[in-house]
């Protein structure tokens, strides 16, 4: 079976006024279809850059990025992935339904089919009665659900998420994490998820990719032995296995010495 994502020997160097900045060096990563992989690490470790390379929003300085066996560029043109950012990024003049419909309209899908699909998606993310609301009438958590629905509009087999819950309060965040696992299981999509929260990464992922900064690289890939992601629920957050996994990730993050805290990583 073709991997959802194959990153091979990727370096990324940014040219800035202050000189060259090495964002990523020698990154290798594969994501299987349907797999949930989180990228975690302190600020400046290049986790967002890696996601943007997969999305073809940046191009690697060297190395290759493949998505479903084609180049990342071709995969973007074919729209093989859906994407969500930290800001929901909804168009303020469009209603919830119209925002979700946008990627579908752009493909020239007939109106009735768009309406039908939008209705499905609104139900999927639990936005029932809010289709005709405008983004400024929604809370941050609801905006983020709309963004997820929009990312799922074209039934992508890959979902790229860049700290989508980063700006939300803890309650909303935990709630949406469980929702995301349900949605990912229902759609069977692979997910690459950037976060700086250790519990979030552990709760969501099949594997947690721990990255370290200066230069950005993959320190270690930690598999989560917590059962299939689709079967996880909130009681897992209080299980001893959950805390074991958190400890495992934390120790890699801190380079084996639990006394020092990596900057930019939340331990809560």
């Amino acid at each position: 079976m073709t991997n959802a994502v194959t990153v091979t020997g990727v370096d990324k160097v940014f040219d800035t006024k202050a000189g060259q900045v090495v964002a990523l060096t020698e990154v290798d990563l594969t994501v299987s279809p349907g797999e949930f992989v989180s990228l975690i690490g302190p600020s400046g470790c290049g986790k967002s850059t890696l996601l943007r390379l997969i999305a073809d929003l940046e191009t690697p300085t060297s190395g290759t990025v493949e998505v479903f066996g084609t180049s990342a560029h071709q995969a973007r043109l074919d729209q093989r992935y859906g994407i969500a950012f930290q800001q929901a990024g909804l168009l303020p003049w469009r209603t919830v339904a119209a925002n979700i419909a946008l990627p579908l309209e752009l493909t020239g899908m007939p109106k009735s089919a768009v309406a039908e699909r939008v209705e499905e998606l609104i139900a999927l993310v639990g936005l029932g009665d809010f289709g005709d609301r405008f983004p400024d009438q929604l809370s941050g958590g609801m905006q983020q659900r709309v963004a997820i629905a929009r990312a799922l509009a074209k039934k992508p087999e890959l979902l790229l998420m860049d700290e989508p819950f980063g700006a939300l309060d803890e309650m909303t965040r935990e709630y949406l994490q469980t929702e995301l696992l349900r949605i990912a299981a229902e759609t069977g999509a692979a997910v690459v998820f950037v976060t700086h929260s250790i519990p979030e990464a552990v709760y969501l992922s099949d594997r947690v990719v721990v990255m370290s900064p200066r230069p950005g690289r993959i320190a270690e890939v930690v598999p989560m032995s917590l059962g299939s992601t689709g079967s996880r629920a909130d009681d897992l957050r209080e299980a001893s296995t959950f805390f074991e996994m958190i400890t495992a990730v934390r120790e890699v993050l801190h380079g084996g010495s639990p006394a020092t805290t990596a900057r930019g990583v939340e331990n809560r």
Partner: protein
């Protein structure tokens, strides 16, 4: 819809109060009344011959010739234009002249908006076009209208295509559009460049090209910038039309009446003010009509922010 999700819903947005709008109207009216009061107070208290320091007049004369009473100006509106038999009442003459000018200004506004939008689109599409065109667009507004209005008229008079013949009012409309296109070009350019990087990248991930990005993102995002630009363009078109009527000598418009009645001011000082009020009303009507356009586009003035 689950319970937790329902809790996340903020109350519906508060609509702008009707009271606020009423208050704005009252303040506007008070401003006009205040102006009339200041005028009359100065006329009453100021020196009849004004104040002259050396050769420079610092304060204007307060004679009835220089500063007619406000009520005389208003009363004059309801008297006939001339003492000739069958002369129209003055306000009607002003309204007729003003509607001619309004029509010309509207034509100029439409041309100006189209040209301004075209410039903005070209400048947004090609960065090099922005560097090449923008300085000239700014420079264009420094050319004195009085200087080139007669030129436009003489160029126009040479245009004759088949049965189409250039009319004098078209020269006036062209000059009006020359003033109107500027705020549109500048405002629309800023608006088209306004979308967040996030939104642009999102459209990029949909592999949307320039045209879909323009239609679905740049144009809607430009609306809040475009509305004040269109209003400014309307006011500019009126000013351009009035000035161009004067300098091309077009008959029948409000610009012509300003000059004509000013010439009669020594015998009929209040009459000269009538076309001035007409021109002011014209500007208000033009800007107000564009403001109505804004009501149609109110969803495009929403912001993204969660409350």
């Amino acid at each position: 819809m689950t319970d937790a999700a329902t809790l996340l819903v903020p109350p519906r947005r508060r609509r702008a109060g009707r009271g606020a709008r009423l208050r704005a109207a009252v303040y506007g009216l008070l401003g006009v009344v205040a102006l009339a009061v200041v005028w009359e107070l100065y006329k009453w208290l100021g020196p009849v011959d004004g104040l002259v320091a050396g050769d420079v007049r610092i304060l204007p004369r307060t004679s009835d010739l220089a500063m007619p009473h406000v009520w005389d100006m208003i009363a004059r509106m309801f008297e006939p234009v001339t003492r000739a038999e069958g002369a129209r009442v003055l306000w009607l003459e002003i309204v007729l002249a003003a509607s001619l000018t309004l029509g010309i200004a509207a034509a100029g506004w439409v041309v100006g908006v189209v040209v301004g939008m075209a410039f903005a689109l070209i400048m947004q599409r090609w960065l090099i076009a922005e560097s090449a065109l923008l300085p000239w667009i700014v420079l264009s507004q420094t050319v004195p209208l009085i200087a080139f209005a007669p030129l436009v008229k003489s160029w126009g008079s040479r245009i004759e295509i088949g049965t189409f013949e250039w009319q004098d009012w078209m020269s006036v409309a062209v000059i009006a559009s020359y003033l109107a296109f500027f705020p549109v070009a500048v405002g629309a350019l800023r608006g088209l460049q306004a979308p967040d990087r996030l939104h642009l990248e999102l459209l990029h991930t949909y592999s949307a090209g320039w045209w879909p990005t323009l239609v679905h993102l740049r144009l809607p995002a430009a609306v809040p910038f475009l509305l004040p630009a269109l209003r400014l363009a309307a006011a500019n078109a009126v000013v351009g039309a009035v000035v161009a009527e004067v300098s091309t000598g077009l008959q029948g418009g409000i610009g012509r009446l300003v000059i004509q009645y000013a010439g009669q001011a020594s015998g009929d000082p209040a009459k000269a003010w009538a076309p001035i009020f007409g021109a002011i009303a014209l500007g208000l009507i033009a800007a107000g009509s564009v403001a109505l356009l804004g009501l149609l586009a109110k969803n495009y003035r929403r912001t993204e922010g969660a409350s």
